[in-house]
């Protein structure tokens, strides 16, 4: 449809002239035009039924087909509202919405009038185009101009400062609801706050929210009302390759060749035949070309298959997206963002089939360019009134330098507008947005997707996302790639984790080979960086990489096969760089076969070393091989910088006895050496003997270390299993909501504070209060009264102290008397008492004695403290602010 409509306005200039003339006419005529237009609208049904010129290469449709289509569409329309029931005005509680939602201000009313006028003129001038999307109803059934629905907001989250993360957030946060009528813009456009609350929306809601955020973040962003492809409108990514599966392009770095130096030697003469070389190259190229050709054909075939289902409504589907113009925030080139998928597209992209209008929070522009070739030839210079018809004057877009003629036209334009609304200010600004401040709570921001879950289907891939802490194993993202388009045969799986205590970051599972690769962030207790394995059983194929700086032994990597173990080191004080251990078959021993109880015998240990700069090269061992079974030790030394061969030495351990029965300690045939520059001291048997002894002890060390490595592998495997089982998540100490410990601590602190407060209140008890209460209220104290007050207070306190002392004394006496009585009774009846009674008596005695002792102590303490307390009160009273003035002279 839009192609058809836009075709009409291809001869724009002439139309514009015509319009100017028309606009000069009186209002009545305008109204007449409106009537005409209404009639036209009635006929629209007919008009849309015109055979459409769909894009080149596609079959033209017959009218019957279109009618069919219409019918089908009407059927679809019936079903759509049901689907949408969850998100219509019925479900929205409009009563609690603020006032600005429920009514229009004066200025907004004016704006609506301006918009209506603009719309009338527009439909008059471009009768073939669809009516503009200007003021849809909001959730309270109040018409609101689209620009005022945009509420520029800068979000408090640093993650939302850039467009890509912003778009990703919008696309994750809202779930998509299709338009009620895929061929028309919606009747309703809700505020972003409502949309955020219900986490649902159509493409217009999406783009309005995204636009608000982007403008808030400083981008030059616009909401676009236009036409998109089916995939775009249905948020269908099944034909797109997943961005996560794409491999980053390898940046081909061509090393700059240093210019040949003056005395650089000439290369040796090349004696091969050039002709043969050329022939070879030609042959290779031919093969390559053939292969490429085949590949291309294959691809074309696949593409054809995929594109078999063409969309009958191609070019008619209404969609809304966001346009970001270059200039602000260092955006080098204008681009589109599809708010559904958060993907950015160039303005030339095939998915975007046409633009009706676009708007930001300040103005509204109507596209006057032809969209016959999608958006490929559109020029986004909003200052050009020929290409973009603006609604309000006073836009901040730079105007093009216009010819005089056009300038006049401009003035005419203004005049006409004035004619329409005489009280209209020349530069009417957009009223402020009626939408409340857009707010996203931190919880909602973290949860992101509705219910914290989202699944996206890509071409041969499925992407699942979860909010952090939603899965108790910390899984946040899973990408499954498939072999076929129907997504039945899984190829591999990638799982991303967050907040794991074992620092697991990514798990890569290859379904075909069964190879698992775990990647870890720094901080694993064993400094693990990567662990690739097929099974968690020990002594199988596996590779472990480590963060070598976190390890004492500088281990970088350990590779294992059933028969060997290879370790790579870096930065060790003994310059060891590599150790390779060959294992033999396990000896039969006990039933229990594990590395701990019955380690596999080592057959051969190969160790390599980096160059130790402190030693001369021909005394610095580069490689040593312990052939344990043969009892041989081979040494290879480093190569001196001016040599091409290196020293070698081989020790043969033989324990033999000479003819006299003495043990042979060392003979010259036990050490075979090759020396590039023969040295004298190495010929000595003593030297060789000492070297061999040293090597033997080192062999022991190496074997021990290899054994320890084996143990470590077991330990790591055990630890990994435990971690997998437990999969505990870490909680940042700054995360006050999740961190139970800190919560408890905080609560405890609060409790302590509260108690402290109570105690303070108690401490501030007023001694004078009961005495002051006896005095007539509101009167100032006289001196006499003050003195009396003080004395009374003190007397009272004294009395209290005496009472207390008496009380204690009385209790003490009572207790003593009782005890005496009991003792008397005991002495009298001692003979007749049963052992139980005696026990009872004894326990009573000890208890009574205890009570008496305590009372005694209390009394003595009271006697000690009473005068002090009395003095303290007196002192306090002297210093009491109410009495201090009156008692001053007295003291």
């Amino acid at each position: 449809m839009v192609q058809a409509v836009l075709k009409v306005i291809s001869s724009l200039d002439s139309q514009r002239h015509a319009r100017m003339e028309v606009l000069k006419e009186k209002v009545e005529e305008e109204e007449a035009a409106e009537r005409e237009e209404a009639a036209e609208r009635a006929e629209r049904g007919e008009k849309t039924k015109r055979p459409m010129e769909v894009r080149r290469g596609e079959a033209t449709m017959t009218q019957e087909m279109l009618r069919d289509l219409e019918r089908k569409l009407s059927e679809i329309e019936v079903s759509v509202p049901e689907k949408l029931l969850t998100f219509t005005k019925d479900t929205i509680d409009t009563s609690k919405l603020p006032f600005s939602y429920q009514s229009n201000t004066l200025k907004e009313e004016q704006l609506l009038q301006v918009a209506d006028n603009f719309s009338r003129q527009y439909s008059h001038l471009c009768p073939d185009r669809v009516p503009l999307f200007l003021h849809p109803l909001n959730e309270c059934e109040v018409p609101k101009f689209v620009s005022t629905t945009i509420r520029p907001t800068l979000m408090p989250y640093p993650e939302l400062y850039n467009w890509d993360t912003c778009a990703q957030f919008v696309s994750d946060f809202l779930s998509m609801v299709p338009l009620p009528d895929p061929l028309k813009p919606p009747l309703y456009l809700y505020s972003s706050t409502t949309v955020l609350k219900y986490q649902k929306g159509n493409c217009f809601d999406f783009s309005t929210l995204l636009c608000s955020m982007l403008i808030g973040a400083g981008y030059d962003a616009y909401c676009v009302n236009g036409y998109g492809s089916q995939d775009l409108c249905h948020m269908d990514l099944t034909r797109e390759a997943c961005p996560l599966t794409m491999k980053p392009k390898e940046t081909v770095k061509e090393q700059e060749k240093a210019p040949p130096k003056k005395y650089a030697i000439k290369p040796p003469r090349d004696l091969t035949s050039r002709f043969e070389q050329e022939q070879e190259v030609k042959r290779q190229e031919a093969i390559k070309a053939e292969e490429e050709n085949r590949k291309k054909q294959e691809e074309a075939r696949l593409l054809e298959q995929e594109n078999a289902k063409t969309d009958p409504l191609h070019g008619l589907r209404v969609h809304s997206w966001v346009l970001v113009l270059s200039g602000k925030r260092e955006v080098p080139e204008s681009f589109f963002i599809d708010p559904f998928t958060a993907r950015s597209y160039s303005t030339q992209d095939d998915h975007f089939l046409g633009i009706e209008s676009l708007w930001n929070h300040k103005n509204y522009w109507v596209n006057m360019q032809d969209c016959w070739n999608c958006c490929k030839e559109l020029v986004f210079d909003l200052g050009d009134p020929v290409r973009w018809e603006y609604l309000l004057l006073g836009t901040d877009k730079p105007f093009l330098s216009l010819t005089e003629e056009e300038d006049e036209g401009m003035n005419d334009d203004d005049d006409v507008e004035n004619l329409g609304k005489e009280d209209e200010d020349k530069s009417f600004d957009m009223p402020p947005s009626w939408v409340e401040q857009i707010e996203i709570s931190p919880e909602a921001f973290e949860t992101r997707c509705p219910n914290g879950k989202k699944v996206i289907q890509y071409k041969r891939a499925k992407l699942e996302k979860w909010a952090p802490y939603l899965n108790n194993n910390g899984l946040v993202c899973r990408l499954t790639t498939y072999e076929d388009l129907e997504c039945t045969k899984a190829l591999e799986m990638k799982e991303w984790y967050q907040n794991r205590e074992d620092m697991l970051e990514l798990k890569h599972i290859n379904k075909i080979t069964g190879l698992n690769v775990d990647y870890f962030k720094p901080g694993h207790p064993q400094a693990l960086r990567m662990h690739s394995y097929k099974s968690m059983q020990p002594e199988m194929d596996r590779v472990m990489e480590f963060y070598e700086t976190a390890r004492v032994d500088g281990l970088i990597k350990r590779e294992e096969t059933p028969k060997t173990m290879t370790e790579y080191y870096q930065g060790r004080p003994d310059f060891l760089s590599y150790r390779h251990v060959n294992f033999g078959p396990r000896m039969k021993k006990l039933a229990l076969n594990s590395a701990e109880s019955n380690p596999r015998p080592m057959v051969k240990i190969t160790e390599r070393f980096f160059r130790n700069p402190a030693k001369p090269a021909d005394e610095d061992v580069a490689e040593r091989v312990f052939l344990i079974v043969e009892e041989r030790i081979q040494l290879r030394y480093h190569c001196r910088s001016d040599h091409i061969t290196a020293n070698k030495r081989e020790f043969l351990r033989r324990t033999e006895v000479d003819s006299k029965g003495n043990k042979i300690i060392m003979t010259s045939d036990m050490c075979i050496s090759f020396e590039v520059e023969p040295m004298e001291h190495t010929k000595k048997l003593l030297y060789q003997y000492e070297a061999m002894m040293k090597l033997k002890s080192e062999e022991k060390m190496s074997r021990h270390q290899a054994w320890e490595s084996e143990l470590e592998v077991l330990e790591i495997l055990k630890l990994r299993e435990e971690e997998e089982e437990a999969h505990t998540l870490t909680i940042s100490i700054y995360d006050t909501k999740r961190n139970e410990k800190s919560k408890e601590y905080r609560e405890a602190m609060e409790r302590v504070l509260h108690e402290e407060h109570l105690r303070q209140v108690e401490a501030q008890l007023d001694y004078l209060a009961p005495f002051l209460a006896q005095l007539p209220p509101g009167e100032k104290l006289t001196r006499w009264q003050a003195v009396r007050l003080k004395d009374e207070c003190l007397n009272d306190f004294k009395q209290r102290l005496i009472d207390k002392a008496n009380l204690i004394q009385a209790r003490f006496e009572k207790e003593t008397q009782e005890l005496q009585k009991k003792q008397q009774w005991y002495q009298e009846n001692q003979v007749t008492l049963t052992p139980e009674d005696e026990d009872l008596y004894l326990s009573y005695c000890s208890q009574a004695m205890f009570r008496i002792r305590i009372l005694e102590q209390r009394l003595s303490r009271h006697k000690e403290l009473a005068p002090l307390k009395y003095l303290a009160l007196e002192e306090k009273l002297y210093k009491d602010p109410r009495l201090v003035e009156l008692l001053k002279v007295f003291v």
Binding site: K262, Y263, K266, P268
Partner: protein, 579 residues
Amino acid sequence: MDTPETEDAQLHKLHGGVGKRQPGKGSLRPGAGLPGPPRSAQHQESPQQCSLEQKGRMNRLYDMEPRVMDDEMLKLAVGEQGPREEAGQLAKQEGILFKDVLSLQLDFQNILRIDNLWQFENLQKLQLDNNIIEKIEGLENLTRLVWLDLSFNNIEAIEGLDMLVNLEDLSLFNNRISKIDSLDALVKLQVLSLGNNRIENMMNIIYLRRFKALRTLSLSGNPVAEDEDYKMFICAYLPDLVYLDFRRLDDHMKELAEMKHQYSIDELKHRENLMQAQLEDEQARREELEEHKAAFVEQLNGTFLFDSMYAEDVEGSKLSHLPGVGELLEAYKDKFVIICLNIFEYGLKQQEKRKAELDTFMECVQEAIQENQEQGKLKIAKFEEKHLLSLNAIREESELSNIETKIVEYSEDITELLNVLMMLEMQLVEQLEETINMFERNIIDLVGLFVENVQSLMAQCRDLENHHHEKLLEIAINVLEKTVKGEMDEDLPDDLRSLFVDKDTIVNAVGASHDIHLLKIDNREDELVTRVNSWCTHLLDKVHKDEIMRNRQRVKEINQYVDHAQSELDSLECGDLLD
């Protein structure tokens, strides 16, 4: 023996210092570091611990005549102190060379004179304590020595230590030394023990300031240690010292000492700094001159040449008193110096050019050699891989015929390797030859150009001289004429007047002066040209020689390696045949 000792001191004793005794024997020896009772008394204190042998030795100490350090004694000591057990058997079997010995202990030997130690080139530790040595000598060859113990001897002066640049620990405890000096060569000195000597003057300590690494010092038992300010003084003047007389110096003490002696130390430091600056200046000047000499234009950046022209020129200096000659001379000098400066600057520039040329050449040659070596190494590595496999295969093969074929294959491999390596080497030789020839041409051109330009500049000098000579002659003849006519109004010095007797004399005098000047200029020029030419020839000779040496080395190396591989194969064959 109950000397109060702090823990620090004991620790130190274990670590080093004077009390370094082998454990187990320590109790038998006098505590060398301890200012205790005399030695004899100590020995008598612990006789029950002495073995018979040692008792005998001890008796010998006092009874026997002074002994000579002869071969026998040294051999005995080396044998006794050498390796033990199995290694000892081997050592005995083979004998130990003196130059392999690292540590030697010759105490209680009644040695009077240090001798016969020249073979111990690699000796690191030498103990000569408890002898009757009177003079330090015979240590010139022991340059690797780190630890030297000469305590309990009769040494009177420190000397003969100038070659021991690696010495870190020196003990001269209980000797008769009265002055600390002659230690300048011992730049690494860390521990110095000079207790129980006769040092009286406190100023000896200032001498020790030059040893930046010195941390431990003992001076107790010297007259100087009785001074009440002794400790403070040392603390102040040797701030880096950590242990004095086996006790740790605490920071508080150091602070106090520094405060006390601040003024004198500041003064001393100032003087030292001045000296240091002077030394550095001199060094810089010397380096600059070296640089100029390398450019063959030394002392041309001033009036040196001009001054030297007049230095031996008696007539010239006489004639300069003639009226008008003074100004003439000034102008001449200025012009001459300018030309000299030109030569100087040109020389430096050329020197830089030559250096750059040489550097690029060397770099390129190095690169080429490196690359070639890498290739060679690669070939050898490949060969070695194969070599191991085939050796094993031959070893395991049982069929005789198979063995033979394999052996043949293997020796073919070896020949192949030889050929490949040799070809690489020949290729490199050819390439290098070409490069060297190019370099030779270029450097000769550069030198030629330099000489030519310098010669033309020198010719300018000569022209100036000629011009000056003419002017001078003119003036002289004028003056002569005036003198002859008696019109001379000015007074000339007598020796100058004596020249103006007749025309010949004056002309001769002026000529002689001129000749001398020309000679000087010629000499300077000749010197420059000869030196630059000889430098050039030397350089080229060296380049050629180096290349030849390198080639020979490489060929030798290759042959050696191939021979080794072949011999391995041969030994295998023999073994197989025997089996």
